[in-house]
Amino acid sequence: MAKQYGFWIEIDRCVECYACEVACKAEHNVDLGIKWRRVTNVWSGSFPNVTFKTISLSCMHCEKPACEAVCPTGAIKKQPDTGAVTVDQTKCIGCHYCFFACPFGVPQYGKSGAMEKCNLCVERLAKGQEPKCVSTCPGNALHFGTMEELSKMAQEKAAKKLAASTQPSVIVSK
């Protein structure tokens, strides 16, 4: 039975420190201008009745990846043992089709021309470690585990799974 790992982001604990963004970049030597993980503020209202929430998202590692479906070279594959959606840079031709297919705008293209994105730190998973972003979060806002584990953890916080037809493996909660 294939496992599906994913992320749980607790918005109320995120302080927009960018540690996860930069840690991911340093871990994978990501090109300047490219972000495998993005920290963004979502604003509502205007001064003085204003507030914002901060959220950190990388790839959704969807259960039904739209990117995998459209990739002409077969470079994008969903890994059966972790559920990670990874791209083989030796096969990718950089056609950008996956960018158009992904409803979350995740695929980005670096200096090499090939597509790159969060790979769920599969090499760290193999060593029994969590993804770098999760391990570095000073506020303990980012969590990692199987979707079942995370769901249980998030239940009490009335989390809502991101609703989209590709079934993203991310839970966003307060």
């Binding site: 496992k3 109320d12 604990r13 995120c14 302080v15 927009e16 420190c17 960018y18 540690a19 963004e21 930069v22 840690a23 970049k25 340093a26 871990e27 994978h28 030597n29 300047l32 201008g33 604003w43 209202g45 205007s46 001064f47 003085p48 204003v50 507030t51 914002f52 929430k53 901060t54 470079a75 890994q79 043992d81 972790t82 990874t86 791209v87 083989d88 840079q89 030796t90 790979n119 730190c121 599969v122 090499e123 998973l125 193999a126 029994g128 470690q129 969590e130 770098k132 391990s135 570095t136 979060c137 000073p138 506020g139 303990n140 806002a141 969590h143 990692f144 585990g145 199987t146 584990e149």
Partner: protein
């Protein structure tokens, strides 16, 4: 959360050798592995060494986060938190802030100074030639000897940033041996606030240990999501909030924690004293104070009560920009919600004209509401004995070697001389004496009053960008007889140096003062060592080594461990019964378990906390500093907190406000840099590529300035160009910016910006007249009025 990590780790082990995986990233290379992953990783693992040390991220300040650095073929490749140390939220935490992860970029930055240099052109021209360390050191030695002979040792002034271990210890020792009291403090952070608190309530605590017992946490001018993100405060606050504590945030701008507050109070920059006094007015006026505590532990309460009658919420409202009823309700809430703790920061005492009064007033709020050292209040911290005995608080600085008139010779005391002269045992302020104020010392180069500094040195401090009035600073540096600098980066001040010394990075030396590497926890004490991870680049050397070497050359070898840093470290470590080699070889530090169970937490330790205050009580009417000469020695210090407000402000200088209608301030600390350090590192600079000003969109649109567009910001003192960043969480008449944009980033093609008029250094805008400084601890206001236009 800790438990979860444990189960997940074991969970993941089961998925161990994954067979073929399409994408692998180790040390940065993304390779296709056709062989089993585990085999490939095993091969790679052999080549990687893991060395424990401390992160560079908070640079000039204390070592904080213990890390493990991965080194491959002599090159740094990766960094992660040391889970055994107890960083951030405790044992097992591997968290690190964004800065930490730029370790590799920091180490190999093209902007580093690598060799000793001597100036050949005019000061400020930037013409230098490489020399040897020998030549550099002999020049410095001869200049120091000459200055001492001709002008007296006090003519040598050493400029520092805030709390930098080498400077505080070995540099201080050298200065004492040499005979100068002019260890020069920037007066921008922590010190002023600390003094204000200790002379009022006897202690200054930043302990988060008891926040889970609090019912109300008031974050007042504190910026912990920007300063020391990984040192526990954000985490503790988030836990408290999750536990249901009420959280009020009093800051000019809505930072991330403020967005989670029950109430955000957008106070006008620099008006915290007014708010605090008005709160005292309401609490006392409505009888909401803790009568028992006031009776038993407060001195001069009646006089304070009389004094604050004038500071009504109606009076404070137009000053602070906060409606009077909001102020009144806040006061009531702070008095009646118990326990309550006020978390203060730089924004509320360190860079304001009345910062000392503001901080004192805030401490008094906590005091009279009975929240000092109570569970969930302003808890003075656990007195846990350390399981690793070390020498005092730090290396003996040999204060007694200073000439007997040293304190009288202080050029420009950074806090009142009489306080500096008090024996450390009874001084509420304690250590860090003697010290002068950097800004005033530089002014003295130009004015010659009270005397002229002849030799100035700077270490790990960007003098030209971080102090007010960069123009004055540049002129002073131009004029001074001899100026030498030791640093990692070529800050703008370095162009004015006669001798430049290359400081190695914090990963290139294993020099420590051990007490700082100690993490004392309920379960025991952990000690780690700063280790050399890679060889120093170029001919750079450690700041520690420099002082030992200089000391030896000046004839103080006997008092400076013969110039041998190993001896220095061994001597410190001796009482701990730990050998230097053992510490060096421990892969994750040494942990000594606590043998005795900890006694239950103590509270209300008032006799001890207030023992150095007059009458052994909280100073509502301050007889310790009241009526005594201020730092300038031109006036006296107030007995009770007094409001002054910013030198330029909407309420304070309404005529000026007609021409300069907007309030301008800066954030001091920001999570993507260490003041002006690291803005040249690509991973951090790409997150803030341009000198930004956060501006309310309505205001920007009024002036026709689009989001991301360059704008001119002009105060009565100068002008700068910055990039507008639309920000809803800020009042329409306030702008917030950041200091320190002189570093260039070649990788991104971004320049460094000038520190003078027309550049992008906000310090150009502020008032540099010492008459407008706080007279107690020389705080220099970081608030002014500006007008803006599209560039």
């Amino acid at each position: 959360m800790t438990d979860l990590r444990m189960t997940r780790r074991t969970f993941l082990k089961a998925t161990g050798a994954l067979g073929t995986v399409a994408a692998v990233g180790v040390g940065g290379r993304r390779l296709l592995q056709s062989q089993p992953l585990a085999k490939a990783l095993a091969a790679q693992a052999e080549e990687v060494k893991i060395i424990p040390t401390y992160c560079h991220g908070c640079a000039a300040t204390a070592v904080n986060c213990a890390v493990l650095v991965h080194v491959k073929d002599g090159k740094m490749v990766r960094i992660e938190g040391n889970p055994d140390a107890g960083n951030n939220w405790g044992v097992g935490s591997t968290s690190l802030c964004a800065k930490a992860h730029t370790a590799v970029q920091y180490e190999y930055s093209p902007n580093r100074i690598l060799y000793p240099m001597k100036r050949t052109g005019a000061k400020g021209e930037g013409k230098f030639v490489r020399i040897t360390w020998e030549e550099a050191m002999s020049t410095i030695v001869s200049k120091l000897k000459e200055a001492k002979e001709k002008y007296g040792p006090e003519s040598y002034c050493h400029l520092v940033s805030e709390f930098y271990p080498p400077r505080d210890q070995v540099a201080r020792r050298f200065l004492n041996l040499y005979g100068t009291p002019n260890y020069c403090e920037c007066c921008l952070c922590h010190g002023p606030r600390y003094l204000a608190a200790t002379v009022t309530i006897g202690f200054c605590s930043e302990s988060t240990d008891d926040w889970n017992n609090s019912k109300l946490i008031v974050n007042w001018g504190s910026n912990c999501e920007n300063s020391a993100v990984n040192q526990g405060q954000p985490h503790a606050l988030l836990n408290a909030i999750a536990n249901g504590v009420k959280y009020v945030d009093i800051r000019p701008m809505m930072d991330p924690l403020a967005s989670k507050a029950d109430q955000w109070i957008p106070i006008r920059p620099g008006t915290d004293c007014a708010l605090a006094l008005a709160i005292l007015n309401v609490i006392i006026g409505e009888g909401l104070y803790d009568a028992d505590f006031v009776r038993d532990w407060c001195y001069g309460f009646d006089r304070l009560a009389e004094h604050v009658k004038q500071y009504t919420p109606e009076w404070a409202a137009p000053i602070t920009g906060i409606p009077a009823d909001v102020i009144a309700n806040l006061a009531r809430e702070m008095a009646t919600t118990k326990p309550m703790v006020i978390k203060t920061g730089n924004g509320v005492g360190d860079q304001q004209r009345d910062g000392t009064s503001a901080m004192a007033a805030i401490c008094l709020i906590e005091a009279i509401t009975g929240n000092l050292d109570v569970p969930g209040g302003n808890y003075a911290g656990d007195n846990m004995p350390s399981m690793i005995p070390l020498r005092n608080f730090m290396v003996e600085t040999l204060l007694d070697r200073l000439p007997s008139d040293a304190y009288d010779k202080l050029l420009a005391p950074s806090y009142p001389r009489f306080l500096q002269k008090m024996p450390q045992v009874i001084s509420p302020v304690g250590f860090h004496t003697p010290q002068s104020a950097s800004y005033k010392v530089l002014e003295a180069v130009l004015t010659g009053k009270p005397y002229t500094p002849r030799v100035i040195s700077a270490q790990q401090t960007s003098v030209l960008s971080q102090l007010r009035n960069p123009k004055m600073v540049s002129e002073a540096l131009k004029k001074v007889d001899f100026f030498f600098v030791m640093d990692q980066y070529w800050s703008p001040a370095v162009d004015y140096a006669d001798i430049v010394l290359p400081a190695c990075s914090l990963y290139e030396h294993g020099h420590n003062s051990f007490f700082l590497g100690v993490k004392n926890r309920p379960d025991g004490t952990w000690i780690g060592m700063r280790n050399k991870v890679v060889e120093p680049m170029g001919e750079s050397r450690s700041d520690w080594e420099f002082w030992l070497d200089l000391g030896a050359r000046m004839g103080f070898a006997a008092d400076m461990w013969g110039g041998d840093i190993e001896r220095f470290m061994q001597e410190q470590l001796e009482p701990a019964g730990i050998k230097l080699e053992d510490l060096r070889n421990s892969p994750r530090g040494i942990f000594v378990k606590r043998t005795e169970p900890l006694p239950p937490r103590e509270y209300r330790r008032y006799a001890q906390l207030f023992k150095n205050l007059p009458h052994g009580k909280v100073q509502c009417y301050n007889e310790l500093i009241g009526g005594k000469p201020d730092a300038d020695e031109t006036g006296t210090l107030p007995y009770m907190p007094e409001y002054k407000g910013p030198p330029e402000g909407i309420a304070q200088t309404p005529d000026l406000a007609k021409e300069y209608p907007l309030i301008f301030s800066d954030v001091h600390a920001y999570r993507l840099d260490q003041h002006s350090s690291y803005t040249g590192l690509p991973y951090l600079r790409e997150l803030q590529p341009y000198p930004w000003v956060k501006i309310n969109p309505e205001t920007a649109k009024k002036y026709g300035i689009g989001n991301g567009e360059w704008m001119k910001v002009e105060s009565p003192h100068g002008w700068v160009k910055m990039v507008a960043e639309y920000f809803e969480g800020i009042p329409p008449d306030v702008l917030m910016s950041k200091r320190g944009w002189w570093q260039k980033c070649d990788e991104l093609g971004l320049p460094g910006y000038s520190c003078l008029d027309g550049g992008s250094e906000v310090n150009v805008l502020y008032n540099g007249d010492r008459e407008k400084f706080d007279k107690c601890s020389c705080q220099m206001a970081k608030q002014t009025l500006v007008r803006i236009s599209k560039l």
